[in-house]
Subunit: 259 residues, 4 copies
Amino acid sequence: MQTVQPDDLVLLVDRDRKSFIVRLEPGSQLHTHRGVLNHDDLIGTPWGTRVYTHLGHPLWLLRPSTDDLVRDLRRISQIVYPKDAGYILMKMRIAPGCRVVEAGTGSGGLTLVFAQAVSPTGRVYSYEVRPDMQQLAHRNLEQLGLTEFVEFKLRDIAGGFDERDADALFLDLPTPWDYLAQAHEALVNGGFFGCILPTTNQVSRLIGALEETNFGLIEVEELLLRPYKAVPARLRPIDRMVAHTGYLIFARALIPSEE
Amino acid sequence: MQTVQPDDLVLLVDRDRKSFIVRLEPGSQLHTHRGVLNHDDLIGTPWGTRVYTHLGHPLWLLRPSTDDLVRDLRRISQIVYPKDAGYILMKMRIAPGCRVVEAGTGSGGLTLVFAQAVSPTGRVYSYEVRPDMQQLAHRNLEQLGLTEFVEFKLRDIAGGFDERDADALFLDLPTPWDYLAQAHEALVNGGFFGCILPTTNQVSRLIGALEETNFGLIEVEELLLRPYKAVPARLRPIDRMVAHTGYLIFARALIPSEE
Amino acid sequence: MQTVQPDDLVLLVDRDRKSFIVRLEPGSQLHTHRGVLNHDDLIGTPWGTRVYTHLGHPLWLLRPSTDDLVRDLRRISQIVYPKDAGYILMKMRIAPGCRVVEAGTGSGGLTLVFAQAVSPTGRVYSYEVRPDMQQLAHRNLEQLGLTEFVEFKLRDIAGGFDERDADALFLDLPTPWDYLAQAHEALVNGGFFGCILPTTNQVSRLIGALEETNFGLIEVEELLLRPYKAVPARLRPIDRMVAHTGYLIFARALIPSEE
Amino acid sequence: MQTVQPDDLVLLVDRDRKSFIVRLEPGSQLHTHRGVLNHDDLIGTPWGTRVYTHLGHPLWLLRPSTDDLVRDLRRISQIVYPKDAGYILMKMRIAPGCRVVEAGTGSGGLTLVFAQAVSPTGRVYSYEVRPDMQQLAHRNLEQLGLTEFVEFKLRDIAGGFDERDADALFLDLPTPWDYLAQAHEALVNGGFFGCILPTTNQVSRLIGALEETNFGLIEVEELLLRPYKAVPARLRPIDRMVAHTGYLIFARALIPSEE
């Protein structure tokens, strides 16, 4: 039976589904509203068991999912939700070995998903202009042991990206139409372009600009995630749900014919 | 500028967004309703350019996305859609290096996504009872060069899985409640369980059975994908959409307390 | 220009879209968190103008919509939302002159919509077992001047309905399958049956029972209402929405063939 | 037991849910792909029973719902769906006795719903510029016996509406922003304004124009209708659904303060 080891990243979930993610360090303590847990008491405990705070409150001891990691991220900006991030992987073929460019880094939610997906041989090049953002994202990914797959760049992308022949490039910023020439230049010919935007006005403007910058096969989609109450005899959607995270825009970097 | 090479997998997309995926073999031909293309004429052509059939019809020459690959799959069964597959990766932390068990293989759509996501160091163990299904899935993954990451098993899972300590296990079959003890045995303690089911009756039955088989933190969700017409001045959802693919059920394999 | 008169029902809406509905009585006052309004100051004021509390806070003076009335209703039970109520009118042809049976009355939300729709020549027969519920519903409809179109009955419907040849019959209660014979008896041959239920388990059970009780042309549907932020340059769905109110079930009371 | 009479409007539904709506005339025949029915054979038959074509195919004999009527309408333009029409009644308080202005008439789908809802004492004023449209709508409503509640006007609304103090005004045309001053003039102070538009660009433009024309309390919403397969043991959404009919925009005609 596999047990928890020092330096492991653990997810602790209480009865109300409130959860905590921590990296275990001998001698440390986790303080929750339900009481305290000594990391030393967790080390050596089998995964999947129930542990107790000093007040006797039970918590499940588990490995976090990618969804858990993204939702738990410390953030100072809107993050890309896992439902969208997973779909982006599918639409942009982000897989082990890929070289992916991203701007802006934000709190690092998408950076995390990309870094994990391209590891161990690929690489994420992540651009950000705000130093505080970048520092937070760096700390977030360091906590997850993913920094070796990411090159963080503190830079305005108006001057262009350093990379060439990138497999995929994703823009999560308010005015993506300003950077399409730069994006096209950084992408391999035929490469995958992606973007997420909150308003319909931005979507209209972006797809107009994409058409004028040698991008093609443009797609606009949105994903709605509807959670259910998991009660066998009373199965039903929960009362309220997230109604909007963003519109996803995908396109391919094309090479215009000479004619 | 990167050019297409022999043995490359290419996506060809015509003006109406109809697409074809082929692996290039010197001397071969692709026959479409718009005319014929010689593989030899494509080899050496830059990615992202337009090529023409013998009737003069243009097609974009591109690398396929994972979404393209799944949608293009030859199938004799319902496939798991990319919107669901991408989210499954997020919820079950399926990433490079993971050992993932799956049953049934079906046409191999999810097998493809899992194999790509766990490569190069992980492995997918995929169970199926129907020989014709398994053969089709095997051929589908061979076409994509992904068989080295998959162990195909032609076997009824009622007798249990061969694996132990699997990171994640996914069931895509009509009566998952019949195999929960076997699933729990194959999973690492605390491991990720997932399932997709079309009807609410099946969902109710499965979550009832999960509760009785030491699975916990059960979640039921569904994803709706809404595509838009990507016209800058007339942005709007398309008229009709897929209304239902399946309910996603996630849970964790727990170890009951002794008390 | 039409002005507000004594005994008019008015909707007052503040800057944050918080709203109040009151019937104007000379000498009365409306107390809001933004200050006080004298009914006498409102009487004689044109509809559609801005009025001010004694603290100077502006409120729009308007006639309430049916949607406003339903949302404002004092309630001790879940109400049927206007999105569902409006669709029920369409599916059950509830229009001026119809005779409609309803159980249970609840807080009277659907009763209100039905009463308004069948007036002035039709009638609603509304059954309820809980006296407190019925009193609340009665008071709610009295406030709106709609009681003349409703016959309230404090009675368990297990013993059957008093009506025969009703045009439409709607059940808003947890175990509708217990009352289908009674419903069939009260409906005109071919009449419209409707029901709203929160869980999938209830829907399955009801449609099974309907099939066995000479109901046919069964339909199950749900309506999702998605509100947008009405900002011209930043149009987008609001962040969160109601994810579930209930499943709507419609059927027709059929007469079995003799054969 | 109520029986079908000459001049009754009947709905006939076959086993595959294909339906026909006809007004019964002694001596007439209904020709379907399943065979012929003599109106004379239907007259005197109880509602809710099964009748048979000369080829022996069964059809249920029923009164049509408003939903049935709208869906069956002969049309040369897009109609407003019943899900939207029912909600419009709720949001604009369209009820017996109301005076409602509408433009354009189109095929008369919404005219039908409004006429039925305001009868017997209210009235619909419906404007249209295309004579063929208006004729079709007139014929459609005549078939349903609703013309006495509608005043059809063949006229460009750029010159204004004839009505004043209308309770509600609905625009179903491509450039509603061109007619807002006219709409405001026709509405009672505080009156209900509504509109349906297919694209986000139109919505942005309309709400911008509404803000500049003394309309307020603007709301933008959309309704998604999701039908289910009504099978008790295999309850599930149907595979495909209508993804978009239109965005609904509601507002109130306000009187600006003097200040």
